[in-house]
Amino acid sequence: MSELTKLTIADARDKLAAKEITAVELTQSCLDAIEAADALGAFVHKTPEVALDQAKAADARIASGTAAPMTGIPLGIKDLFCTKGVNSQAASAILDGFKPEYESTITQQLFDAGAVMLGKLNMDEFAMGSSNETSTYGNAVNPWRRGNDDTALTPGGSSGGSASAVSADLCLGATGTDTGGSIRQPAAFTGIVGLKPTYGRCSRWGVVAFASSLDQAGPMVKSVRDAAIMGAAMMGHDPKDSTSADLPVPDFEAMLTGDIKGKVIGIPKEYRMDGMPDEIETLWADGAAMLKDAGAELRDISLPHTKYALPAYYVIAPAEASSNLARYDGVRFGHRAKLSQGDGINEMYEKTRAEGFGPEVQRRVMIGTYVLSAGFYDAYYNRARKVRALIKKDFEDVFASGVDAILTPATPSAAFGLGEMADADPVQMYLNDVFTVTVNLAGLPGISVPTGVDRQGLPLGLQLIGQPWEEGDLLNTAYALENAAGFMEKPQRWW
């Protein structure tokens, strides 16, 4: 297997600029790696022709001296992003065969910067899940295993294909989306870096909507520097998304000094959960010590409404999903059920949606329908939105008191086995998001950084939470943590 696919985006950019490698060589190496990795279930639609055309164009651009940092960088694109003429199905049977007539703003920005699309990546259906087990394409598999045990593990979700592909060096970076932790949890499960920007940083236009007030796209990559490079290329104002922030995107990479002297890092007591594994506890304490050694001041803080984040999320996200997913009606795109003699339009809707949506999506749409229905709207939906306001205020109070960033575990455990949660009730699966979901509710930027491995050799990550719009500062703190942790482990190739 070629070593080229193991490059970081930063290294590849430098080698491309120095003419040591070409974009076509780099892209071909990735395509070869992808062909040999079907067992991972990461790439669900491969686009080698598109990739090689884009790579040739990138080489020409590099030769002409007009390259951008992402020029010639081969990426995987989560299936949630609409890509013109290329299947974009949100991993759902209801969008079977859907080929958008338009390009999402984020992929357009990446292509304008010269990036190369290798194909579309597996995910949980409509981004609803924490294990990539709800996908219509079948499971994505984690390249990591527990020692010599060949149990197939989840790469996490919903951006499971993105995490698996980056971790296994099938691509240099991937797009992800994060509604309750769907970038940060899979990044932690696979030993990579995942950044969820501030709500409004990345345009949502052309990204299949799950819960519009929570959804935010971001990069999934091999290093914090790569998150800075790829993140900047994904962000920016878009008139086509009314919640897109009209703010300049700074040069994040230039802000990576690693100097965090005097920064105040909050350690929230509410994130110390009962029954949390010792290894997570130790990882967290070690991470805090690393930041202290790097010159930061640690401060114990309280985010009193943390406990209510998950229940609030599981009211708000399904409510928004039930509205967003109303568009899948068998009329304008995707699947339509075969109808019986005499079936009218309601039968068409009901049969189409029953056939097209998987069980978890059906469950969430129905929960959303229930909490928005007459008589329950105030008791559930409005109450959840009030609690959300309190959760956001918790963070505002902490930041106002001088805290620069907050350090927490990224996940309550390492990657679990595919199928291990099959008999658990849905709420058990939801607990995966316990440390990440607060960040979406408050609209803040968060990043997951791999900092260690557990007893079985599986990667574990820590999460840093930053102030709104301060991704640059957050990335620099993450950079200091990454440097101190020196996480170098890679999965042993078995696929």
């Binding site: 859907f98 958008p100 009218g344 809707y349 949606r353 939105r385």
Partner: protein, 95 residues
């Protein structure tokens, strides 16, 4: 709050998802479990708190009320399961 099979049937109807009768008890059980989990929200004192409407307070941008796009009929219909003569085709809606 526990959901009985009749409520589950009603919710499925509202959501326009066909659920066979034999699956309703399991659906009711699942939905009840999730709603029980949400009951925790009743512990929070939310007196005087405004429900959040926008996570990042900003003024919605305005633009001129003019046509910016159009004439895309083939593109609009390209993915339709059934399109005829420039329209989306559906089963009979009105008797």
């Amino acid at each position: 709050m526990s959901i009985d099979t009749e409520t589950a049937r009603r919710v499925a109807k509202l959501a326009r998802i066909a659920v066979p009768d034999e699956n309703l008890p399991k659906l009711a059980e699942d939905l009840s479990g999730i709603l029980d989990f949400m009951e925790q929200l009743n512990e929070v004192d939310v007196d005087g708190v405004e429900p959040m409407t926008s996570v990042t307070p900003m003024r919605l941008k305005r633009r001129e009320d003019v046509v910016t796009d159009g004439d895309q009929q083939p593109a609009v219909l390209a993915n339709a399961p059934d399109a005829r003569e420039g329209f989306f085709a559906v089963p009979k809606v009105v008797e």
